[in-house]
Amino acid sequence: FLICVAIRANYPLYIRSVPTQGELKFHYTVHTSLDVVEEKISGVGKALADQRELYLGLLYPTEDYKVYGYVTNSKVKFVIVVDSSNTSLRDNEIRSMFRKLHNSFTDVMCNPFYNPGDPIQSKAFDSIVSTMMVQAC
């Protein structure tokens, strides 16, 4: 399974998961991962976009999933949670996923009818995320 989240100021603007059950757990995971993201971006000398953070065995070994984070220049965080059994996903693929997310997000932002801080309701964004997740799973 795969979950993509866009978070702004610690409030999720967009959450999408492929298997739609058990979402609550992922919400929790995403929330806790925010802490690590914060820690990373406040790190010294790091460049603008943290392309990746990797969690292994975050909570329990049984619940093996990896959490990837990405931060944009405007401190909008993207988090992707993937199942560790999904070992086919390589780092580069995750990076490209983040890049696509970022692109679509900027497109959404360009829309003058979109107020930053609103939940993202753009269909184009949805479709891009869907194709991405279908590809990944």
């Binding site: 976009a49 065995g57 220049n73 692109n103 269909k123």
Partner: protein
């Protein structure tokens, strides 16, 4: 369809006369009701537009009849809407009260003259109704409803009867042959042939059963001509007509609409080739009273180049979508081909659309015409795909010109192509912000020359390095350096970096000295400490040196990002021309004090300058200074990068070890 109850809407029962009932039933059938009785919104909207009522009125009609409330047109709503339209066309306000009385049948475009002609006849005959019906129900698969019409007493009833049987088989074959066949007849019937646009539409979507009924209707309305001919002639006429207001595609912008959009654009932005900013467009479109999510969706559809601003074609697209939405069309998920800004009709004048004589070219390819505006030298791979598409589109436009389809809609879509190219210079500004935001994540390397340049200004002052036995090392270095320096001033510096790698490092350096201070280095002062330090790092340096390119002065220690590194480079560069002098300065104090160094450096300088001609030397030294600066920057950059590389390596190692540990656990 239950015509009797159909007129009820929201509890109010509106009575329909027979003619109206028949007419409406035909229209209803025309609008392709589905199983639950709801009408296809597209067809309904087309019909409404055919009535040539202003959009506001149509909107009102939709509201009043209850369709807006329900979200669709059921039979009742449709009937009421038709009545309201008739009322509106008669000049009455759009309200339910207006439809209580007897009203003429609603007019649909193209029929104006005929209906006027028939209007007086209306009470007496049923011609008008069948006329309308004929045109509309041409596409309506409702033979049962049509039959009563057929039987309507009319002038040409018998004719009609006689015609109907032969007609059905006659209609089955494609309409166009019959159209051509009857063309000469059609010419005679100018006044009466005008068909509803729907007929034209019907022509576009031939379906046999529909055709059966339409000819019959035509016969009704007209005089002794083959209804086929009539209808066909009207179709011909429609085809001939440049202003085809409806085509079978509600997503095509008509001429009038385009003019209207142009005027609106001008009111917002006088220059047709410029952009409307997002906020301006937002305010403007918000006036249309559509809900914000829909406006947002419309924006997404129409802003193909995603620059947060609307070009003129994008504006037309957006406006058209808004108009369509207000008329009840649901918004498409993707932009229809005919609304794409790059949709080109060759031969159309960019100016206010005149009667275009070239047919419309239907362009089905997926275009991103505005994409070439993004050609801003973006590094991003995704973005580069767009310019590629744009160029493709341009070539396609050219190839399309020779192909013409019989349909004609004057749409100055060529403008977009021209606009697109003219917009290129404008778009860079709009896109800059986006570009930055988009390309920024692409530059994965955290350090760049810019960063390095910034770091150049950092004023760290590390403590002086401990001095070890320097004599041997220094002498070695000196020798080496001396040999290399003998080759020349500047070239030697580079060769030095390439070969020896050791460049004496000044221990305690003041904050990164500006170029002017380069020569103030005291060659000698550094030596001892430099060499000591260098010696300590010698092994590391050599490793790093190999990695470095010749442009960067290798040999700087990257273990610590101490500025002395940089300064040492600078100093080092300063050494080369001053080699012979250095030895003399060797016994100097090791604290590199610029003031003390200054006289020596000056001495060395003067010494060195004496040999070549003074002017040349000065120039050379200026150049040297600049080179030193850049070298210093580059070495600093290099050192920083290597430091980060080390850190990352360490992290990676730890993570991998963790992974190793956890993997067996996870797999169990």
């Amino acid at each position: 369809m239950d015509q009797g109850s159909a007129a009820g809407t929201g509890g109010t029962f509106i009575s329909l006369s027979d003619t109206e009932q028949r007419c409406y039933s035909g229209l209803y059938a025309l609008c392709q009701p589905d199983s639950s009785g709801k009408l296809a919104a597209g067809k309904v909207a087309e019909l409404f537009r055919a009535s040539q009522l202003p959009a506001e009125t149509l909107h009102q009609v939709t509201e009043v009849c209850g369709a807006k409330r329900l979200g669709y047109f059921g039979c009742g709503q449709f009937y009421v809407a038709l009545k309201l339209m008739a009322a509106a066309q008669a000049g009455l306000p759009v309200r339910l009260e207006s439809v209580a009385g007897e009203l003429p049948l609603p007019l649909f475009i193209g029929i104006t003259n005929e209906l006027e002609m028939r209007y007086p006849n209306h009470p007496s005959t049923n011609e008008s109704q069948p006329h309308i019906l004929g045109s509309l129900t041409g596409s309506a698969p409702r033979p049962p409803a049509d039959r009563p019409v057929l039987r309507h007493p009319d002038t040409s009833t018998d004719k009609q009867e006689a015609w109907s049987p032969p007609r059905s088989p006659g209609i089955s074959p494609p309409r166009s042959p019959s159209a051509y066949r009857s063309y000469p007849y059609g010419a005679q019937r100018n006044g009466t042939d005008t068909l509803l646009a729907y007929d034209g539409k019907v022509a576009g979507c031939p379906s046999v059963p529909q055709e059966n009924s339409s000819p019959s209707h035509y016969s009704l309305k007209l005089q002794p001509e083959q209804p086929v001919i009539t209808r066909v002639a009207s179709v011909e006429r429609l085809v001939e007509r440049a202003e085809m207001d409806y085509s079978d595609d509600p997503w095509r912008i008509t001429e009038e609409q385009h003019e209207y959009y142009t005027n609106q654009f001008r009111s917002l932005q006088p220059d047709l080739s410029a952009l409307i900013m997002g906020t301006v467009a937002k305010n403007f479109f918000t006036k249309s009273k559509l809900p914000i999510p829909e406006l947002s969706h419309i924006w997404e559809l129409s802003d193909v180049d995603k620059d947060g601003a609307l070009t003129f074609p994008e504006f037309c697209t957006a406006f058209h979508l808004i108009v369509a939405r207000k008329n009840g069309y649901t918004l498409p998920e993707t932009l229809p081909a005919t609304l794409r800004p790059g949709f080109v009709e060759p031969g159309v004048v960019p100016a206010p659309p005149s009667e275009a004589t070239e047919p419309l070219i239907v362009f089905d390819d997926n275009m991103m015409p505005g994409a070439n505006q993004l050609e801003m030298g973006s590094v991003d791979l995704q973005m580069t795909s767009r310019p590629g598409v744009t160029s493709k589109q341009d070539t396609r436009d050219e190839s399309r010109k020779p192909e013409f389809s019989p349909k004609r809609i004057p749409d100055p879509h060529e403008k977009p192509i021209q606009h697109v190219s003219t917009l290129k210079p404008d778009s860079p500004q709009e896109l800059d912000a986006n570009m930055k935001s988009r390309t920024r994540p692409r530059s994965y390397s955290s350090t760049s020359i810019d960063d390095a340049m910034k770091k150049v200004e950092e004023p760290p002052t590390p403590p002086p390095r401990p001095q070890k036995t320097h004599s041997r090392a220094s002498s070695l270095d000196l020798n080496k350096l001396f040999q290399q320096s003998a080759q020349g001033s500047r070239p030697s510096q580079h060769s030095l970096s390439a070969k020896s790698g050791w460049l004496p490092r000044p221990p305690a350096l003041p904050p990164r000295p500006p170029a002017t201070q380069i020569f103030s280095f005291l060659p000698g002062s550094e030596k001892s400490s430099q060499k000591a330090v260098q010696q300590a790092n010698f092994a590391d340096f050599s490793k790093f040196r190999e990695e470095q390119e010749s442009s960067v002065r290798g040999g700087l220690s990257t273990e610590d990002l101490a500025p002395p590194k940089l300064d040492s480079t600078l100093r080092h560069q300063g050494h080369a021309p001053q080699k012979p002098v250095r030895r003399k300065l060797h016994p100097e104090s090791q604290s590199a004090t610029p003031p003390s160094a200054a006289p020596y450096s000056a001495a060395t300088l003067t010494k060195s300058t004496q040999r070549p001609p003074p002017k040349q030397k000065r120039e050379i030294q200026m150049a040297i200074r600049k080179n030193r600066e850049t070298n210093a920057v580059l070495t600093r950059l290099n050192s920083e990068l290597q430091q980060q590389l080390k850190v990352v390596h360490r992290e990676r190692v730890t993570l991998e070890s963790q992974l190793e540990l956890l993997r067996p656990v996870a797999s169990t």
